[in-house]
Every structure is written in C-alpha cells, then in structure tokens.
Assembly symmetry: C2
Homo-oligomer: 67 residues x 2
DNA sequence: AAGATTTGACAAGCTAGCTTTTCATTGCGA
DNA sequence: TCGCAATGAAAAGCTAGCTTGTCAAATCTT
C-alpha cells in the first residue's frame, strides 16, 4: 500500500529512527513500511498519521485496498 | 480497538456474512473484529469504512491506538 | 578525504490477522 | 413448534506484521 511517509518525514526533517521512536516501533518497521514491504497495522497507521498531524486517509493511499 | 461496525451494520440491515462478502473476508473475520478479538489490517479497515461510506477514523476508535 | 549519520536489506523468530471447519445458541417467520 | 438464518466461539493452520541483530552502501558534515 502506497503512502506519503517518506515525503512527510522529509518535510519534518525526521530520520526513520526518530519517527520510529515517536510511533513506538523499530526503525526497520518504518523502513519496511516506507518501502512498501508490508502495511502497518491499523493502530500503527493511526499513530503514524497522528505524528504528522494528519488522518490515515491523508497518509495512506486507500486505492490500494481495493485492487 | 473499538469500532462502530455492529451499529453501522444494523443501520444498513446487513448480516455479518453480507458485510464479509462486500469487503472480501470470511464471516468469522467480521465477527472477530466486531467482538474485538483482533484489529483489521489497514487495507481491510479501508474496505470496511468504504462499505459504510465513511472514513477509517469514523468507524474505528483511534484512541485505542495510543493507550 | 575521513568520520558519523542515515538508509536499505536480510535472517530468524514471535505474534497477530485471516482462513476453513465445525458446533451450540439464539431469534424469527411460516 | 419446526426449521432456518444469524451469531458466537473455538481449533488448527498459513501468512503478514513486527522484533532484534547485523552489515553494506549512501549521504551528510567538517
């Protein structure tokens, strides 16, 4: 599932490790999600969106959920 | 993670099996999610929200993601 | 250019999400 | 009241999400 994490993270000037800390997962998880290796769980998706002050819909591309 | 699926489903007059069909999972998955046994994946959460014409935030209680 | 930070990637292992199957219970229409 | 639809629940099995650890490559910083 596509997402805007890399872009949003760049805007904030955060490293993957910093974002990982904020949302309570490992850096590898953030890296894998950014690179599309797997989707975050729903709770994690909420925490990531919250870290950027956005909604889940604004961060993750829901089109991928229907294809 | 709490959600309003049971209520929304009642409003639509859908059985668990009908909703399951619509979103492409088994009836047991819908039952388990409704009864809080586990959270849906992010793509499934999108499909469930879409079935009700709502956003993920409107169907699932994101507070649970932070506690 | 050297050193430090950041990122990408992989492996092995554990847990959560989802499946099919099955059975018991509940509630409702004929 | 009989039968059927709907729900709840449990087991066993597979895959996805997430972990720690490690290493190499890329990108800053100075």
């Amino acid at each position: 599932m596509k997402n805007s994490i890399r872009l949003l993270r760049a805007e904030k000037g955060w490293s993957q490790a910093e974002l990982a800390d904020q949302v309570g997962v490992s850096r590898n998880s953030v890296n894998s999600i950014e690179n599309g290796k797997f989707d975050p769980s729903l709770p994690l998706a909420f925490r990531i969106a919250h870290a950027f002050g956005l909604t889940v819909e604004e961060v993750f591309d829901k089109e991928d959920a229907f294809t």
